[in-house]
């Protein structure tokens, strides 16, 4: 989650759900919290009961809106304009929290001379490389710093052009302090750049872009200002309504900037709550299933970087700030993986780690599969044939494999793609022509195995096994462990160099029972970390060493097994402890519940106000203290100023609450870490009904887009074939791609059929009747569904033009107890360049009454519908990376030094 990570230092929600009850105002935008996070929503309800104002900004009136004091309908894909408008409002009317902004953010930093803004370049920042569709970020840097100012929260970028090493030679805090203007007047200081960047985001523009009337927008602005400052705080909650855009990361950046200007980060009832999805999706980025990260947000080494651990560390370890500790965490990780075989001499076997050669994200991999470049594929706990974009292309990819392993609870569409799929029903693809060998492994459900979930607020909660899994069903742990064991055995006699990592891997978890189920607690202990000498669990990441004397599977989780106790299994009821409930489960880092909480005190270390006190400096004890574990160096006084030559953590001053950052400040302006711009900019989605009203540049110039015959895109804007905005989302009654809900009759009966939500106006225009059938189409494919005509959706007026939005829940697929052809067969491969997330929240399409689906899929060879005569195709801009065939892309990297 680089949006938060780059701005604040850590890629996780800054606060916890229980803290929402302290908010005076809660803005839920880009999330349908009541429907998708109903249990956490109780704290929103509690805040509302205590008098907080609840605002929901969403294209639709949802169950969340039903609870809100103010619901603002917005055009999908335009939140940066809306939030940018709020930023403009704060700056214009001087309503920001001056003391906070000045002391805790990089507002005063001066940016290099050569920096040019989107204001100057009509939608581009300086450094755009049109051939590559990428930015060279050299001009975005702080003045006086050579090379790149490294970002704290998300470091994959280093392998990308324009980033890399640098800025670290004379790396002390001093180099930042020297080039600041505390009066915030310097024309190149971040504050002034911000002002200039957002000067166009006026209420009139907001209304024109988002379809939000000015008075409604101003209502939100006033509510925010009235509920921020010393005495009051406002919290933001978002989820995938913000992330699933080709500018997704920048959405979060905009919210971070806004919350920083309002002084709402690190304070009770404030913050940005990223509501995450699957039970442990936070866990799966902490100990990542992502291709470009190692556990604990350490970057995955890139092939360009050579094989040397020292190079890697020099590249990534910041000279100041918390990331100066990287060597300790990296070496401990290698020790955990390779045990005694990892020594200082062999660079702790750093060479055994795989290397990135480019984009290996989900969509790129599927495109490679479709092109026959991938032989085998493991799908564990995912249902891409339904849940991922351009379903037909996903299935095309599966068809080109030699083998596919699916581990799931039920026979999901991804396991059945060879006999149940629209293109098979239609006869475009014949089962007998599919070569893929499919192995289905029944998986144990969460009740049938033990382990932890890391939830949306970084909280690890241990879960016991209630029953043994039935039949052949086994846990993931069992599968992976025994697969590893067998591979090790299989290659035991191999002397080949490439097999050496398998030999060196430590793979010695104790097992239990006749199925030899590995012990999850043993794994957790390894994640926590231990001393090599006596195998003693460490008490936290401060115990980790870079000399090979400690091992740790994930440094941010270090402490979860402190004192030899499974801290994640603590279940002391909230009523028996303080409201922060520190003894329920265990939160990373170091059991902190509210991050950056040093910022809840003023620069002198006193609470900003009695009402909002949380963590403060106790002058007598000479320690930080309060409700939570202080997110700061416990004994560093507020008046500490680092000496000129201070390095590492010592270089953080007493007023630097964002200690993961090199400069200890929150980043209003991001000199690095975000590949599509240091400041968020409104771009239209890849497919939009209108032209970008703000800039000549229509879409995010750095977005990833796959221009292939099997992934056709609509005209960039105002495509007459596909006039409506489509957006997809969830329903409380189902879960994601349906594997866990469409097979259950108790859930299925609650939402039995795929439907679309349309406004009465659109229904009248297209002759749709409530309860009747409709067919929704895009260039990728079509889908039949029921119609729900509702006033919860209204057309929006943009600059005199009416825009209709159609809502589509995306839970259905072609197997299971309730079925439909699935909304994701409509959506193209287009992605945000930072995290390769798909754009599924805003695209265009058409709707007609009746059951008229043909079942044709572009990815199964259907011809494209031509534009009406006289309507020209619109070029978006130069090609982006995804556009280049993978082989070419890979080759290009290999050629570079």
């Amino acid at each position: 989650m680089p949006g938060l990570g780059i701005s604040l230092g850590r890629g996780g929600a800054t606060t916890f759900q229980q803290d929402l009850k302290n908010a005076d105002c809660i803005v839920i935008q880009g999330s349908n919290m009541a429907e998708c996070h109903p249990v956490g929503f109780q704290w929103v309800m509690e805040a509302r009961e205590r008098g907080a104002t609840l605002i929901h900004v969403d294209p639709r009136f949802t169950r969340t809106s039903a609870m809100a004091n103010l619901h603002v309908p917005i055009r999908a894909g335009t939140d940066i304009a809306f939030l940018g408008g709020l930023i403009h409002f704060l700056l214009e009317h001087e309503r920001y929290f001056k003391d906070y902004v000045l002391h805790y953010t990089n507002a005063a930093n001066i940016i290099r001379e050569g920096f040019q803004d989107t204001e100057d370049l009509d939608g581009f920042f300086s450094g755009y490389l049109p051939d590559e569709g990428k930015y060279d970020i050299a001009t975005w840097q702080y003045e006086g710093v050579s090379g790149t100012v490294p970002a704290g929260g998300h470091k994959q970028l280093y392998a990308e052009p324009g980033a890399g090493k640098g800025g670290e030679e004379e790396g002390t805090t001093a180099r930042f302090e020297a080039h600041k203007d505390p009066t915030l007047q310097h024309p190149r200081c971040v504050f002034q750049l911000l002002k200039r960047h957002f000067q166009r985001y006026t209420p009139a523009i907001v209304s024109q872009v988002c379809g939000v009337p000015e008075e409604q927008f101003l209502k939100v602005a006033e509510a925010l200002c009235a509920n921020s400052g010393r005495e009051r705080t406002t919290a933001f909650c978002y989820s995938v309504g913000w992330t699933q855009h080709s500018v997704g990361v920048q959405y979060i950046r905009t919210a971070s900037i806004l919350q920083l200007l309002l002084g709402n980060i690190g304070r009770p009832g404030g913050g940005i709550l990223a509501l995450r999805g699957h039970a442990s999706i936070q866990g799966s980025s902490d100990i990542p299933t992502l291709y470009n990260l190692l556990p604990g947000y350490m970057p995955m080494p890139h092939a360009r970087q050579g094989y040397d651990l020292d190079d890697y560390l020099k590249d990534h370890a910041a000279s100041t700030g918390w990331w100066s500790n990287l060597p300790k965490y990296a070496v401990s990780l290698l020790k955990a993986w390779f045990g005694d075989a990892a020594t200082k001499e062999n660079h702790y076997l750093f060479g055994h780690l795989p290397r990135l050669t480019g984009n290996h994200s989900h969509m790129q991999t599927v495109a490679d599969m479709a092109d026959g470049r991938v032989k085998g594929y493991f799908v564990m706990g995912e249902n891409p044939a339904v849940g991922s974009m351009n379903g037909a292309l996903q299935r095309k990819g599966l068809r080109q494999l030699d083998w596919l392993v699916v581990r799931d609870l039920t026979l999901i569409e991804t396991a059945e793609f060879w006999r149940h799929a629209p293109e098979i029903d239609r006869g475009d693809v014949r089962t007998e022509d599919i070569q893929t060998e499919v192995f289905f492994f029944p998986a144990a459900a969460h009740t049938e195995k033990e382990g932890t979930f890391t939830n949306t607020q970084r909280l690890l909660q241990w879960r016991d096994r209630a029953v043994d899994p039935p039949g052949d069903a086994r846990s993931e742990l069992h599968f992976i462990y025994h697969l590893g064991r067998r591979l090790k055995a299989l290659y035991a006699s191999s002397r080949e160099r490439k097999d050496q990592p398998l030999h060196d891997l430590t793979w010695d978890y104790p097992t239990r029972g006749k199925h030899e189920e590995p012990s999850a607690e043993a794994v957790l202990q390894e994640i926590n970390g231990y001393t090599i000498a006596d195998r003693h669990v460490v008490s936290g990441f401060s115990d980790l060493k870079d000399d090979g004397s400690t091992a740790c599977g994930c440094w941010i989780y270090s402490g979860c097994y402190a004192d030899g106790v499974n801290q994640t299994a603590r279940r002391k009821p909230a009523r028996e402890q303080s409201w922060v409930a520190p003894e329920w489960g265990w939160a990373w880092p170091a059991n902190r519940r509210l991050l950056y909480n040093r910022a809840s005190a003023d620069p002198e270390g006193r609470p900003w106000s009695e009402r909002k006190k949380y963590v403060w400096w106790d002058a007598e004890q000479r320690r930080w203290t309060g409700e939570d574990v202080p997110d700061f160096i416990a004994d560093r006084p507020p008046d500490y100023r680092p000496p000129e030559d201070a390095r590492g953590v010592d270089a953080l001053g007493g007023t630097d609450p964002f200690l993961m950052q090199v400069d200890g400040k929150a980043w209003l302006f991001a000199p690095s870490g975000v590949v599509d711009g240091p400041l968020p900019t409104h771009y239209e989605p890849e497919e939009s009904p209108v032209r970008n009203a703000l800039y000549g540049q229509q879409c995010n110039p750095a977005r990833l887009e796959w221009r292939r015959r099997d992934n056709p895109l609509h005209r960039a804007w105002a495509d007459p074939r596909y006039p409506f905005v489509l957006t997809t989302y969830r329903l409380t009654e189902h879960h994601t791609a349906g594997g866990m809900s469409r097979w259950l009759s108790w859930l299925s009966e609650l939402q039995p059929e795929q439907f679309c939500e349309v406004s009465p106006e659109l229904a009248a225009e297209r002759g749709l009747t409530n309860g009747g059938w409709a067919t929704v189409r895009t260039a990728r494919g079509d889908m039949e569904c029921r119609v729900l005509v509702t006033e919860r959706l209204r057309p929006l007026k943009l600059n005199g033009k009416w825009v209709h939005q159609i809502g589509l829940p995306y839970h259905w697929g072609v197997t299971g107890r309730v079925r439909a052809s699935g909304a994701n067969d409509l959506i193209p491969f287009v992605a945000d360049p930072n995290v390769e997330i798909q754009e599924s929240k805003a695209f265009t399409g058409d709707i007609v009454a009746g059951r008229q689906a043909t079942g044709e899929r572009a990815a199964a060879g259907a011809p494209e519908r031509a534009l009406p005569p006289g309507v020209p195709e619109l070029r978006r801009d130069s090609p982006s990376v995804g556009d280049v065939a993978h082989a070419v892309y890979q080759e290009k990297w290999e050629q570079e030094p």
Partner: protein
């Protein structure tokens, strides 16, 4: 479009649907919940509401949302689950009860000359009781379910009272039939039984009205004062007609004639009273005017009137008498079926429930309060009869 999309179309689907509609694999989970004993043959059939599909905008569900709100026009009370045998029973039970009463009167006051009439009535009563039990059992499905009725006696439940009355009356009538003509103590017992059955015949003819009125079905509840009188007079008329249609002598005819006539007159009057009671609220009365029950109700009205007219017209031609009695019988049957179906229809119409109560036909009718549960005043456009 194709076989794997849309709901419930593939054989696999149907197989899955044939499961019991629960998500418990009995090899893995214990079926011990309260509802686990619920037998399921066809999960789809459970909901009448499911068949309903709303095609108006949800926010405007029901065209007159503002004036006459409801929840998507769905019923506010459940409609009766009974089948045709219940209205048939309403007729048969009434005839049996009335006949028993007449029989007793003949036995007591008619002297030996009317013994044949008494015996005939006893037969009609007994057979009627048997038939009634048969009809009830048909509705319940299994004979032992009828016995279950006699587990307890519950004065608040007209069905309980009625079951006991029917059972007792049937038993006594049978006893009377078997023993009544004997001598000695057996005969005394038999005659006593017949008398008992006859006394029970009156509630038997009337309780069925309470059975209906003592319900949340709007049109039944709305007629709770007049329906018993209608049922009982109609039973009298119907018994009279039936006995008249059966072969009988002049002596019997002399009794049956005034009996019939009074019954038919009373029936016509009480019919109008029922109609008036229902008409206090238009939505409540609606099913007596429209659709199948409306047609049956009109049939009943016309037939009763015609039957009465033929009865009072001068002349004693046999055909006229037969026509009158057949018409009257048809009227009786039609009215029972009309009321039964009207009950179903009025239960289905939420406005019958809502408007009836808003206009004072709910609890206010008997309890006299003037505001509804939402604190809004109740409207009393109709005189509140106390």
């Amino acid at each position: 479009m194709s076989h794997s999309t849309g709901n419930g179309v593939t054989p696999l689907d149907r197989l899955q649907r044939k499961q019991d509609g629960r998500n418990v694999d009995s090899t893995l989970g214990v079926l011990a919940g309260e509802g686990s004993r619920q037998r399921v043959k066809d999960p789809e059939s459970a909901y009448p509401a499911h068949g309903q599909q709303v095609s108006t905008l949800p926010s405007r569900a029901g065209p007159e949302r503002e004036e006459a709100p409801s929840y998507y026009g769905l019923p506010a009370v459940k409609e009766p689950v009974w089948i045709w045998s219940i209205p048939a029973y309403l007729y048969v039970g009434g005839v049996a009860g009335a006949a028993s009463v007449l029989g007793l009167a003949a036995d007591m006051a008619g002297g030996p000359k009317l013994a044949r009439l008494g015996r005939r009535c006893l037969w009609v009563g007994t057979v009627g009781d048997m038939l009634s039990a048969g009809l009830l059992i048909h509705d319940l499905g299994r004979p032992e379910r009828f016995l279950n009725m006699l587990r307890v006696f519950r004065p608040t439940s007209p069905m309980s009272i009625g079951s006991w009355v029917l059972a007792a009356s049937g038993g006594l009538n049978t006893l009377g039939l078997l023993l009544g003509h004997r001598r000695g103590w057996a005969g005394a017992v038999g005659r006593g039984a017949t008398a008992g059955a006859a006394v029970l015949g009156m509630p038997l003819a009337g309780y069925t009205a309470v059975l209906l009125c003592n319900s949340a079905v709007p049109v039944w509840q709305a007629t709770h004062r007049t329906l018993p009188l209608f049922f009982m007079s109609s039973a009298t008329a119907a018994a009279g007609s039936l006995l008249s249609l059966l072969p009988h002598g002049p002596r019997e005819e002399r009794v049956l004639r005034p009996y019939r006539l009074t019954g038919k007159v009373a029936k016509v009057l009480t019919f109008a009273a029922v109609e008036r009671d229902a008409a206090r609220v238009s939505e409540v009365a609606r099913p007596l005017k429209e659709g199948l029950p409306g047609a049956l109700w009109r049939t009943s009205r016309v037939c009763s009137a015609a039957g009465l007219l033929l009865e009072v017209l001068p002349g004693r031609a046999r055909w006229k008498q037969v026509a009158s009695d057949v018409l009257n019988t048809v009227a009786s049957l039609a009215s029972r079926f009309a009321l039964f179906h009207a009950g179903k229809a009025s239960a289905r119409n939420p406005q019958a429930t809502f408007q009836g109560q808003r206009q004072g036909l709910g609890a206010a009718e008997v309890m006299g309060h003037t505001v509804a549960s939402d604190g809004k005043p109740l409207k009393f456009p109709l005189p509140v009869l106390r």
